[in-house]
Amino acid sequence: MDYGVSDSAGGNRQYRAIKILLAGGFGVGKTTLVGAVSEIRPLRTEEPLTEGSMRTDSTFGVEGKTTTTVAMDFGRISLRSDLVLYLFGTPGQQRFWFMWDELAIGALGAVVLADTRRLADSFPAIDYFERRQIPFIVALNCFEGAPRYDTEDVRLALDLEADLPIILCDARSKDSAKEALITLVEHVLVTASEEPLSGIA
C-alpha cells in the first residue's frame, strides 16, 4: 500500500475508514462473526467504574479499584487500498453503553446478532440503535440445536419495523458473515435513497 509521505497539512490521500458495529448479548457469537470475515485484533480499554457498575461488579477486596478493563475485539477488512472497513464487537451489557457512544459516532450501521433462545439479550442493542437512529439489521445466529423460527415471528417478538432486514446466519461461516454485512450496507443504501441526507455537503 502506497500512501505516499505525509506532509504537514496532514495530506494523506482520501483514506476512508468505515465503522460497522456488531452488537448483541454475551456469547451470541460477535467475536466468531468478526473472526469469520477478518483478522481479529484485541483491544482493551480501561474505563472509570461508574456507580452503576460498582453495584454490579463485586469490588470486595479491591475497594481502591476505580477503573475496569473492558476487552473487545475488532476486525479490519481492506476493501481497497484506500477503503478500510472496521468491525467493532461491542460489549453487550448495558453498563458498557459509554463505550458504544464512542463506537457509534460516525458508524455506518450495526448488525445486531441474536440467539433465538435468548432473544431478550438483544433488546438493549436494538433499543440503543433505534433511539439514536443508527441503521441496523438483525442477524439470527443459528446455533446447533436451537429452535428455528420464521423471521417474521422474530420480527413480531422483537417489535421491529416491517422494512428492517432480519436474516438467518451462521457466525462461523465467512459467506454468512459477509451476507450479514452486505445486507446492512444494502439496507443503508435503501434508507439513504428514501431520505436524502440534508445539511451536510
Binding site: 509521505v5 481502591g64 472496521y86 460516525g106 459477509k178 444494502e186
Partner: protein
C-alpha cells in the same frame, strides 16, 4: 482463604492502575478529540528518542506507516485511554498528524456505499 482483613492488591488489581503511570496519571488527553478509526501518521519531524518515553517511541514507530488509533492500541497492547494520551502528546510535539477519516456516517455517500458493497461481495 485469607481473612477478610487482609486485602491484598494482587495481579488482578495491579495492572488496572499501572498503565496510567505512563501518562503521569493523566486520564484525559490534550487538544482536539479524535475517533477510534482516525488515521495517525508520523511526521518527518526529528524526534530525540532520549526525550521520549519508550511507549511514546513504540507508538511513534507504529505510526511510520499510516495506521489508526485502534490498530495502534491493539499493537502496543495498552488500554485505549492511555494510547490516546500518548498520541495527543506526540501530536503536541508535532511528531504525528491525526486526521479524522474522510468518511463518517453522515457523509457516507452512495458512491462509497456501493464501493463497500462491491468490496464485500468480492471477499
Amino acid at each position: 482463604m485469607p481473612s477478610n482483613d487482609e486485602r491484598w492488591l494482587d495481579a488482578e488489581a495491579g495492572p488496572v492502575v499501572r498503565p496510567y503511570a505512563l501518562t503521569q496519571g493523566r486520564t484525559r488527553h490534550t487538544g482536539e478529540s479524535f475517533d477510534l478509526v482516525a488515521s495517525v501518521m508520523a511526521t518527518r519531524t526529528f524526534a530525540d528518542p532520549a526525550a521520549l518515553a519508550p511507549e511514546h517511541i513504540s507508538v511513534l514507530h507504529l505510526a511510520r506507516v499510516p495506521t489508526t488509533v485502534a490498530d495502534i492500541a491493539s499493537d502496543v497492547d495498552l488500554p485505549l485511554g492511555v494510547v490516546r494520551i500518548i498520541l495527543a502528546d506526540l501530536r503536541e510535539l508535532g511528531l504525528v498528524v491525526i486526521s479524522t477519516p474522510v468518511v463518517m456516517a453522515e457523509r457516507i455517500d452512495k458512491h462509497t456505499l456501493r464501493e463497500v458493497l462491491n468490496g464485500l461481495r468480492g471477499l
